[in-house]
């Protein structure tokens, strides 16, 4: 039987597949049940962690969010009051509005840079291309805290290169993370931090395309940029969608960078700047754990719905195209 199986694997694939499948079906009757139990055993360790650190915290947060702790009243059940409060709370809504705006502007820019870099790297094999692949990816290995600190220094009027430049003209450099610059300043930090990771995902997907497709297009007279737009980008649509959804989920839960840059932002980054910063301050500065739970849970709902809508729209479009 063993030798038969081994010689089998050298034989033509389709027949082997069929035969293996039919022979498995025969065996399944006797061993299928305990095989299924083994499947659950493999999943069980992860399942425990999943339950304890995802389902339980979510459930607990929802439970807490249904109560309100008052100085005079103690902790009382208030139903969905905290959610009504959250979705009418200007601080929460302005935070949500900021991260939504930030996603809408930042993600296309970041995506553009990642995609252009990936297409260039895919088309070139020069030494510069190999070097750039690492150079662009490197920020991914840098913690967001360190990335934000570094850009904070570079933006700074005390340390940064900008002041060197402005001193030449006897002028005071603008604060690149203060006032109305805060949007662009944060956008730059996040783009720098993540574009390389997305670039590598897209690049890997591009490398997986069968190059003979380009050959055919080239014989038909297609130029390089036409091949990129008409063949390469549609072929990696799956990877692009994956990157977009990562970027969306990541940006909506924006926390680290604004939190780190807050001290040098001249007050432009407030304690309610993003939903996560707001929830953090509610919990740890004001001990309003019930309301902070409601905010966390509400943010989770917002992100989940956002991601779901995105997936739904892309699925619909794919379905229409095929």
């Amino acid at each position: 039987m063993t030798t038969l199986d081994q010689s089998d694997s050298l034989a033509a694939a389709p027949e082997r597949d069929l035969r293996a499948r039919s022979s498995r079906r025969g065996r399944k009757r006797s061993r299928g049940a305990d095989r299924g139990a083994v499947g659950w055993l493999f999943i069980a360790p992860f399942g425990v962690v999943f339950a304890v650190f995802l389902l339980v915290p979510l459930g607990y947060a929802f439970y807490l969010s249904l109560y309100t702790k008052g100085l005079a009243t103690g902790t009382v059940f208030t139903g969905l009051d905290n959610y009504v409060k959250a979705f009418t709370d200007p601080s929460f809504l302005s935070g949500v509005w900021f991260v939504v705006r930030f996603s809408v502007v930042m993600i296309p820019v970041q995506m553009g840079i990642s995609l252009i870099a990936a297409l260039l790297l895919d088309a070139m094999t020069t030494r510069l291309a190999r070097f750039s692949r690492l150079a662009i990816f490197l920020p991914y290995a840098v913690p967001a805290v360190i990335g934000a600190l570094m850009w904070g220094f570079l933006y700074s009027r005390n340390f940064g290169p900008l002041q060197d430049l402005f001193t030449l003209f006897n002028a005071q450099a603008p604060n690149l993370i203060g006032g109305s610059n805060v949007f662009g300043g944060l956008m730059n930090v996040v783009t720098w931090q993540w574009a390389g990771y997305y670039m590598i995902i897209l690049y890997a997907a591009l490398q997986g395309i069968d190059p003979s497709l380009y050959e055919a297009a080239r014989i038909d007279g297609a130029k390089s940029w036409q091949i990129a737009v008409r063949i390469k980008i549609p072929m990696i649509a799956g990877a692009i969608n994956l990157v977009l959804i990562f970027a969306l989920i990541g940006t909506l839960q924006f926390f680290t960078e604004p939190q780190i840059l807050q001290p040098i932002s001249d007050g432009a980054i407030t304690s309610t700047f993003t939903p996560n910063i707001y929830a953090f301050n509610l919990a740890f500065s004001y001990s309003q754990f019930n309301y902070a739970s409601a905010i966390s849970f509400a943010l989770g709902i917002v992100v989940f719905i956002g991601a779901y809508i995105f997936l739904f729209v892309t699925r619909q479009r794919e379905a229409r195209q095929s």
């Binding site: 920020p139 360190i146 996560n276 919990a283 989940f304």
Partner: protein, 305 residues
């Protein structure tokens, strides 16, 4: 022309690059764009290296400007201060980061390999539902779980312990997803059947037949989860208050807070933050450079489906 095509058949990737027609203009333009991107992505790191060699005075008003070395080269002095400041707490933070990242990362990878294998290679009742729940959970923002997790751990009196960082870091739904996608293709069912017919148990089949085939995916998931834990800031910030337990990210951020409020008790914290940042990113950069050939292929996994 026809010879180019046959050459392309043999070594498609190389052959394509050699294609001469109408590509020179685009190639020069492409090189320029790449060069600009390199400068942009490396600039902050270059600044960090330069600034690490400056003393406190040089950092604020050095002779070479922000992007060049000061006449006073003080890297060694900065490193000495960094590792001795406040009883060598920086080294402790580095050690904590390594402990959290390695235990959390390795644990998450082991769980992801097992669960991915279970999903990919076993048919059982409830599998589709369980996998759908898993996919949905990829869309749950992990930071939204931080405050709930903190409050749950507070109930169990586990906050301010290493477990408060390590245990939640074991959760990696995306890692499970990646492993399942990879295992489905990389481990043929026929191979497993052959091993079973030979009398190998399910565990032995997994360890001796399947696991060796999974190395690229294992390295990738391991790197992703180690990096994720090493870079994490929100979770340790929320669950830890004893600065002896801080990972380096939280520690440096705390120094930055102290430095901004001019509270460094005599020592200039700014130069410590700079050199501390440089030291803290070296381990991961080395890990990525040395493991390149594994993760480059592995990262495309999630993009396939």
């Amino acid at each position: 022309m026809s010879s180019t095509i046959t050459k392309n058949d043999a070594t498609p990737r190389l052959g394509r690059e050699r294609h001469p027609r109408g590509r020179n203009g685009g190639r020069v333009g492409g090189q320029i764009v790449l060069a600009i991107l390199c400068v942009y992505f490396l600039l902050p790191l270059w600044w960090l290296i330069v600034a690490s060699t400056k003393d406190a005075h040089g950092l604020f008003s050095g002779t070479g400007g922000a992007l060049w070395f000061d006449k006073n080269f003080n890297l060694i002095g900065n490193l000495q201060t960094l590792f001795s400041y406040s009883g060598g707490i920086y080294l402790r933070w580095l050690g904590n980061s390594a402990l959290y990242a390695l235990s959390g990362g390795i644990g998450a990878t082991v769980l992801a390999v097992l669960a991915g294998y279970g999903f990919a290679k076993y048919r059982f009742r409830g599998r589709s539902l369980a996998f759908a729940v898993l996919l949905g959970s990829v869309m749950v923002p992990m930071t939204a779980l931080v405050i709930p997790t903190f409050m749950m751990l507070a109930q169990l009196q586990l906050t301010d312990t290493i477990w408060a960082v390590i245990l939640p870091s074991l959760l990696s739904p995306f890692g499970v997803y990646l492993m399942r996608v990879y295992i489905t293709d990389a481990v043929p069912d026929e191979l497993l059947d052959a091993a079973r017919v030979d009398g190998a148990g399910e565990l032995r089949t997994f360890l001796q037949v399947s696991l060796p085939l999974l190395r690229p995916a294992v390295v990738t998931v391991l790197l992703l989860s180690v990096v994720g834990t090493w870079n994490n800031y929100f979770l340790p910030l929320a669950v830890l208050s004893n600065s002896n337990l801080f990972p380096v990210t939280v520690g440096l951020a705390q120094w930055q807070g102290l430095a901004t409020s001019n509270n460094g008790s005599g020592t200039s914290l700014w130069s410590l933050i700079v050199v501390g940042s440089l030291v803290s990113i070296i381990p991961l950069i080395i890990a990525f450079l040395s493991l390149q050939k594994y993760w480059r292929g592995g990262l495309s996994l999630g993009a396939l489906k």
